[in-house]
């Protein structure tokens, strides 16, 4: 007998978690879209943002709005500084240079967080009720609703930004062709900085939402590993792709955890999205919404 209630529960949980993955993947896509750099430290960005907010609340007793403001401001500054100090120097270098630089950055951040703020898990309290919202057969933790809402809000905001605003159009021009954009009088480097700062914003929000859900410690950065299947499935340079990819990954991992785990003894959650990703890479290497690249010599 097929258990419908169990299925719907997995479905709703998958969708909400998936949207929360999308939020983090959004940061990844923004940077890739504008600067062609892949950010292997996305999970660490989220972790650092979580640390800042959690420590501001717990150790300094800051009210929530102030802590969030500090987190946002800190991550924006961090994004600008990072572009200025590290990534600008790597423009025009081979792919592996940028990949390795962000992997190095990930190591630095993973060491820096616990070194400065201690290795213990910190809680990040938000004024959201603990009791799940009951909707017929569904039990939905409110934090997941908030996370999914924030994610959708930012999807809309960034879509508007890229389609309508002057800066967003300039950033698309930079992403499309840096040299032509430069010739048109666009300050390319400033937009690179802006893209990293936007990633900082998204990471800060991701850090708050995920930090509340999982608690803040080094393990929080593992969320970053989930980003890769999301962006590969959706396409590395597509904002709607980040949302769709996030939904797919969220659903697949919840279904796998619900239906396959009992047979193989757990762990499929972290494994199934990657299998799906490999298949997607074979069939459609540039993702569902990604732009196929035509190579010339």
């Amino acid at each position: 007998m097929f258990d419908w209630q169990f299925f719907v529960l997995l479905l709703s949980n998958g969708i909400l978690i998936g949207l929360m993955y999308s939020l983090i993947a959004l940061g990844f896509v923004l940077v890739y879209k504008a600067t062609d750099a892949i950010n292997f430290a996305q999970g660490e960005f989220v972790m650092i943002a979580g640390f800042v907010v959690a420590v501001a609340i717990a150790a300094y007793g800051a009210p929530l709005w102030l802590a969030v403001a500090v987190g946002l401001a800190g991550m924006i500054g961090f994004g600008f500084a990072l572009e200025r100090v590290m990534l600008r120097k790597l423009i025009g270098r081979p792919v592996i240079a940028v990949v390795m630089a962000t992997i190095g950055l990930a190591a630095v951040l993973r060491g820096f967080g616990p070194l400065v703020w201690g290795a213990g898990t910190k809680s990040l309290p938000l004024p959201i009720p603990e009791e799940p919202v009951v909707l017929g057969p569904l039990f939905i933790p409110p934090i997941q609703l908030v996370g999914a809402g924030v994610s959708l809000l930012f999807l809309a905001a960034f879509s508007w930004f890229f389609l309508r605003s002057r800066r967003g159009i300039a950033m698309r021009a930079v992403a499309d062709n840096q040299q032509v954009a430069m010739a048109m009088g666009i300050n390319v480097e400033r937009y690179f900085g802006l893209a990293w700062a936007m990633t900082g914003i998204v990471s800060a929000l991701g850090g708050i939402v995920w930090g509340n859900l999982l608690g803040v410690d080094v393990q929080l950065s593992l969320v970053g590993l989930k980003v890769f299947p999301v962006v590969i499935l959706g396409g590395l340079d597509s904002i709607p792709g980040a949302i769709v990819g996030g939904l797919i990954v969220g659903l697949v991992e919840n279904m796998a955890a619900g239906y396959i785990d009992p047979y193989v003894g757990g762990g499929t959650k972290d494994f199934a999205p990657y299998v799906l990703m490999i298949i997607a890479l074979m069939v459609r290497p540039y993702g569902i919404f990604g732009k196929a690249i035509i190579e010339r010599i």
Partner: protein
């Protein structure tokens, strides 16, 4: 007598192709070999030999990864997993079939080569960032499989104990014995890569790295050579895994996680991509780094911090220094330690008469 070269005086192809064209280079190689085989094992204590043994294992792995990343230009974040494939293959062979190491070692390497080639299949269609992520997926999937299939991993804590390797009835169990055992493979690995790069295959790898579409147009079968690069590189990784397993006496997946893959990538980047010397320098540097940091913090850290704080500081400081070094080398000296070494050497080559 200080020898200096002047002019190109090669009269045969053989002389042109020589690995070490200058007498001084041949002499220094001889000196290094004498040092490595006679002086070092006689002078150093077991503790230092154990560090050198770790370096030896790392050199083999770094050389292999360099074939793929440095020479062929394909990124792999899955080498830790390929090592674990070699390690568990050899451990299973050694425990279940009582295979001696000279059987299990090449078989472990071949198994890793096969798995590596499969993981490398997407490299035909994708490259760069996408390939990096595909190999990352390979790493996670292999790790998960080994961890969850008890037939491979031996059940409890996914680790298998292996007997010490023996040769001609003599068991190699001391650090000094292990030193010679590993050193032999280091020499084999270095000679192997150096010669590989002089062959048609090696030239094809370099052509693919420099411009893969152009390489295809001049008649290089890209698919074959990319898979071959993955296979050769993974063979080295598999052998590294087997060597490490025999050295530790146990195969354990925790030694081959994603951080291991990153460590090896760091070695070849800090050492210098696409050079044998670079891989050796990088392996030495990255292996010594945590040891130096630990000793330094244990010696001087007590002046500033309490011993409880030090327990938190040492591993995190290692991560920070490690990451910073990768970034600094990428920005300041992309060709790594090998370039620094060349600069020093060419300075002294013309030393009193620099112009």
């Amino acid at each position: 007598m200080i020898h200096r070269e002047s002019g190109l005086l090669k009269t045969s192809y053989q002389a042109d192709m020589a690995l070490y064209p200058l007498p001084i280079a041949r002499w220094s190689i001889a000196v290094i070999l004498v040092l490595a085989f006679l002086i070092v094992p006689l002078l150093l204590s077991d503790y230092y030999l154990s560090i050198i043994n770790l370096i030896s294992v790392a050199i083999v792995g770094a050389l292999g990864l360099n074939v793929l990343v440095g020479y062929t230009g394909l990124v792999s974040i899955g080498h830790g997993a390929f090592m674990s494939v070699g390690a568990y293959t050899a451990a299973n062979l050694a425990v279940r079939l009582d295979a001696p190491f000279w059987v299990s070692l090449p078989l472990g390497g071949l198994m890793a080569a096969a798995v590596g080639a499969v993981v490398g299949v997407p490299s035909l269609r994708i490259k760069g960032l996408y390939l990096a992520i595909a190999t990352l997926a390979g790493q996670l999937i292999i790790e998960w499989t080994i961890n969850h299939v008890t037939w491979i991993s031996g059940g409890v804590q996914a680790s298998i104990e292996v007997p010490r390797p023996s040769l001609f009835g003599i068991q190699i169990s001391s650090q000094r014995g292990m030193y010679f055992f590993l050193l032999a493979f280091v020499v084999l690995a270095i000679v192997g890569v150096m010669n590989l790069m002089r062959t048609r295959v090696g030239r094809a790898f370099v052509a693919i790295r420099d411009q893969d579409i152009a390489a295809e147009i001049i008649g290089i079968n890209i698919f074959r050579y990319k898979l071959l690069a993955f296979a050769i590189s993974s063979f080295y990784a598999g052998v590294t895994g087997v060597l490490y397993t025999y050295y530790l006496g146990i195969a354990n997946y925790e030694q081959y996680q994603i951080t291991t893959s990153i460590d090896y990538l760091a070695m070849i980047i800090i050492g210098g991509l696409g050079s044998v010397q670079g891989a050796v320098f990088g392996a030495i540097f990255v292996t010594l780094l945590p040891i130096v940091i630990r000793i330094a913090m244990e010696t001087f850290g007590g002046l500033l911090f309490s011993s409880g704080a030090l327990l938190n500081i040492i591993p995190n400081l290692r991560l920070i220094v490690f990451g910073l070094l990768i970034i600094v080398f990428l920005i300041v000296e992309p060709e790594g330690l090998n370039r620094l070494w060349r600069n020093i050497r060419s300075y002294f080559r013309v030393w009193p008469f620099a112009y």
